[in-house]
Point group: D3
């Protein structure tokens, strides 16, 4: 076997056979939810928290998964184990579960819909992103605003990312190496596609309030580690003034864990050291927690 | 042949073989655009305007379709003609073109993406909706607001409908027969999933400003017909006070053309006549334009 | 005597004689403030806090009550005592003080206005609401938003309830058994007519920030009891995502004290148990505090 | 007879007997609507338009008046005629109809409510306001904003005026002779208590959009007269920059008809002439229309 | 004489002697207004309209200029004439009048302030900007929003440009050749530093509403010319969707008159032709009006 | 020597020679930052904190000061020492550093700009403000809103004060003795020109969140002192309801330190005692900290 497999509606199939109908609402409307964890040293990380969050997304969209969290955990482990033999020693996987509302008999009667269920693995882009880990991210805030919670909650992880796709297109139209972090509807720092932003100021760590962002598990882990390290953590409205005058800025995401930021809108952050001391401290604590050196996992590709 | 066919990336295939990869960004992110016209008496309607709008959606999302409007019109007609033999005499088709950003080699390099192209037909749900045509729609405004243009323009038709799915779930949670029409971020009447709202007041016709809605072709046709009939047309901010005190309310959509509304949030509209006189006049003008009786096409199913 | 009495501008009169002029600004403009406490087992509850709040409302509207809090407390007790003989053993009263700006000699000279003062009692609708206590409330959020504090503070209790009347009409137009809880101007959960909403999540209790709601005395009592029970209490922005994914939801009000919620916009809350464990715990603590079983006081009517 | 009479729920009674229950929702909640026209030379003005507007207010609040417009017009004329003998030759009346939702048997069952209906007359405060007509109004914009339409429409005339009462208190707290004109939620000029603001600029007349204000009949009359006089009329968003740089500013209201404004927030308007030429022209046209000299009716009291 | 001169508080002085006190409020607070016109072929353009606008700015800031428009026009012509000998044949001047509130005896008593008055000339940067005229401007919308009118009207031209300076810094931090056009507080296209944006769509010309921008004289001239050429002109809310799908985009400013835009946020506009046909037509009409070829005046420097 | 001196771009000059070019961007655009501390008993106060804040302002505006904080501290002390001989025993100085972006060779190339640097002293207006210290300030909230952070952060101290100048003009147009405290874009209490507002309620001290105001050093000192005195301090959204129902209100600023407020929009605060007990306690603590009696320094002038 040299092809990855995926779970699709009750079967394990080669990934190339894992396709969905053009009538699936997950495709037509983005009417679907998902969650993604990753492995560290081939071991899955915080699966339970991810499934809790996935079930909250399902509840928000009123999709009945038709299975329990335990069922889903077991299926996830099956898919992962089937795919591990294809993974290089230094590589790791993203592991994703996804439920669409399905494609029922009639558009008029939602009770006939049956969800489409997918579980799959994808190798992390460690090589492609290694340079960012070394040099720091260039963050740019686009002019469009993050969709406000009164229209759609960012806390449910759903197949509706155009708002963040537009943010990326706007930013990369000026600087293909930059990463978009949106502002929320009030002009406060918000989030990027799959990434949370964190600011270090006067020895404390600040990140946007959970109501406006998808509260990433990596963000949560980082906040827990910061508190264990004796660093005060605030969830509050932070804005461009905070970013420009911060001592350090970093981004958390499932793949990046903790990745330093070197500039925000072209303004160098703090003293210019990448990573700054607290970012470095949190990267080490993260590495200790997950059992591999998260920085070296990227930097070895340079 | 007793299965409809679809165009998929250069080939005409049976619809059941028209599936897309679980790695397609159109699925993962809803990163795709589409447009849908319909046939009247098996003849396609205003294909050119629909393709113009589709190409504006492509431009907004910076997806290169890789073909001209003429190419796409020709392909569309091929797909339609292949499917017409399967259509009942009294039935008609929705006809849809869809472009996703595709699933490139790498998530990191957008230049490698190649769009997925789909063209397909689907019979209109005339029978399921016939009752609504006779009795009038029950419109309910949900508490969530339509995504504001500063986050994502409603004028591009994209695979990102969660905001309107949530609106529908909220409304149907109280009244399964009701139809959701959202309010915009300022509390003005906005739009439903694939439908525009129009209000008749003192002999004039009012509909929300184009900036806040997907300006449907049916809405545009109706406004043209109204002007031809000597009815003044306004695009302006209208709100619940306007709706509750309107003389008539109706909805336009590709499938409905012009469908009367009997209640808004449970308040009866005008004198209670369904359809009201101007709604009726516009239905007749619409029928004249498209060459079939749009009202009877629904009502014959009752 | 078989008619309740009321205090009106210095006199105790039968309630049917307690009428006000059609020139009174409290009637014409809603230019009046009030506060309502209740009895438990025929004993008045937290009169002092209610009068403190009433005097803040008076200050906000710049109405000079012409008497001290002590005067008003004494008059209140007189009215209550005069009416207690008419109250069934298992019943209790709402007890209300109200001040209008009066109807002065001239609309042009406010210094000539003299307030109208009313104190009265009304039996609680225990029977009518008993079913809600057993089954849980069906909460629905209407599309109109709560009046924002920059237009009129919800913290002053005034004779201006149209915003909440409209909310109720909109909600009951779909479901006559539902109760409206508005969203605030930013789309966060706010309040209903005379009721506050509380959410239970991961063992903590959350309720909207005081700036956006009339901070009910029952809400305050419940928060105090929660803290005494070792439950963490947060006042913060909470939204529909929080509600749909909550473990429990309940409402506090002067009449209800603590009443469980079974659904929000048709979505079942938590496991479906009514009341949930923490709601139940707080009902018991409330009963202990006020000296009667608040749940049985309702349920005995079924 | 030397007391005015009023209509109250089917009877004509002396005004001092026209009182309402302290249980009436029109009093408790301001749950009532009304409309007010006036006489000119003892003849009622535009009763039909006022009743149309009143019935829109009733529809908005879902109060069933229990009678037709014709019924109400007849009753109004009866009340007016009964009161005319008490009116001085140079005086005129405000004439008001008012419907509350009533005080039903139970707060829980709205179908049992029966509206309270009041029709009454009140002499215009011509003497008290004469000075303003001569010197021009001093307009001040308070810091609180007009209630936004997404909370409560200003177009329904209801017994809920606290927002405008607060505006007046704030303004008169600095300058007892000033008149409050609120800004709307976006900071545009809006309206005062019973008054609309109009700006003259480069020979055209501008007034706020109808969605944000109670579109007064006097405002409507003035706009009609302006158009007849060949003056262009715009309904649009206007703000403090427009007011400060206007050539003339005036206010319309049922009592004032057209009253000049001399200052806005202490800034003198235009050349300082009171009234300005276009204001004067419109006052004359108004006088011609109503058959009395509206300016002299005020100025004779000085 | 080989140094330009300026008018400063009653005297004509060499520009190097034209300095202001560090106590001047125009410096400390930006408490000053100005206006700038230009010469075409050494002849001043529309001085009267510029002075009208300047006097509106003075009125808005309540600065008494201490002189009439005629006085100021005469002084302006004196300064211009004194400086014309220093101007190359192919060059032209910006000509600016500026009034600060001055630096009075005391910060506590504004009546003691006496305005500082400056009139000066500066050669246009024709050479530096010639490339932009040929290639078209690269417009980028920054993430910060234009100051909303409810905080400070953009229609008064004042020494307070930090909002637009920040916009420029943000944009040039990514692309030093780009020009910032802000979005307004609602996310609509607004203005840049001294420049207005115009969009061509389906043969009509659209530009943001005057309330949100400094309505430039060049913008006004261009709109007048468009109407003379039979092109429909709209002032309305326009947004990024409009810009991305426009046929042509251009910018108007005192120096540029009409300068084509090639990209907005990196998206090519229309067919890519610079200038587009309507932009070209308006440049020609502008040249005819002002008596010199405005395009060649720039392009000759390449 | 009987004239104060100032530092200007490398030189110490008499203040009357300290002038800046009319081409300086600090003048033309207000493109400059500054900070102001004061002396107490001729000793400079918290210079380090002020310079930290100044360097944050420089960072926000991307102006390179061209010197270190130590350099600037030394220069500041030189200027102060040179000016102290001119200061009366009972007087004290404001001490200000200011950096403009300068006036470079070309408007097109920012890299050529060289900052203008000014350091100067100004005696405090103790006599003019003494009355306010005794009687309490009359605070009025104007109708215009403070510039929102998404347009320009209030946390950078820049030469752009028109928003607050307009606020003052609006307020003083009604009451020349009143002081303007703006509301923020959401209608919460914000700040005045160089002053912060603080509210005392139920023994705690509340002040607006730092994101919306320039967090004054005096505000910070007062909060530190309050905490040392065992008074709880909250930074939170506070509004007019809070102000009207507060027990005490006071203002902090560099000159005032802690100055009592007697009325807000004409409503008397608390019991009317000026200063209230907690305001008095904080004035004493402030006096102890700075080594002079801050109250007597003002009151001795009466």
């Amino acid at each position: 076997m040299n092809e990855r497999v995926a779970y699709l509606n009750g079967e394990i199939v080669p990934e190339s056979k894992a396709t969905i109908s053009i009538r699936d609402r997950g495709f037509l409307l983005g009417d679907a939810v998902f969650d993604t964890t990753r492995t560290f040293g081939h071991k899955i990380f915080r699966l339970e928290e991810h499934l809790d969050r996935l079930f909250r997304s399902l509840k928000y969209l009123r999709i009945d998964p038709g299975m329990t969290k335990d069922d889903l955990a077991n299926l996830t482990m099956q898919v992962l184990e089937a795919n591990l033999p294809l993974l290089g020693d230094d590589d790791d996987y993203w592991v994703t579960q996804r439920f669409t509302r399905g494609s029922g008999i009639s558009q008029e009667d939602p009770s006939t819909f049956k969800p489409t269920v997918i579980i799959e693995c994808l190798p992390l882009p460690l090589k492609e992103r290694a340079r960012l880990y070394r040099d720091g991210l260039a963050i740019v805030t686009p002019s469009i605003r993050r969709t406000p919670p009164e229209a759609m909650s960012p806390r449910a992880k759903m197949n509706n990312y155009i708002n963040l796709v537009l943010a990326d297109l706007e930013v990369k139209g000026q600087n293909p190496d930059a990463m978009a972090i949106t502002l929320d509807i009030n002009g406060n720092l918000c989030e990027g596609m799959g990434s949370n932003i964190v600011i270090v100021k006067d020895g404390a760590v600040l990140t946007p309030r959970e109501q406006y962002v998808l509260a990433g598990i990596s963000r949560e882990v980082t906040m827990e580690l910061a508190e264990k390290e004796g660093i005060t953590v605030y969830q509050k409205d932070i804005d461009l003034f905070d970013a420009y005058t911060a001592d350090e800025v970093f981004v958390t995401s499932t793949s990046f864990c903790v990745c330093p930021v070197s500039t925000v809108n072209g303004t160098g952050i703090g003293t210019g050291q990448v990573p700054g001391p607290i970012t470095h401290q949190l990267q080490q604590a993260y590495s200790d927690l997950v059992g591999i050196d998260i920085v070296q996992q990227y930097l070895r590709w340079l």
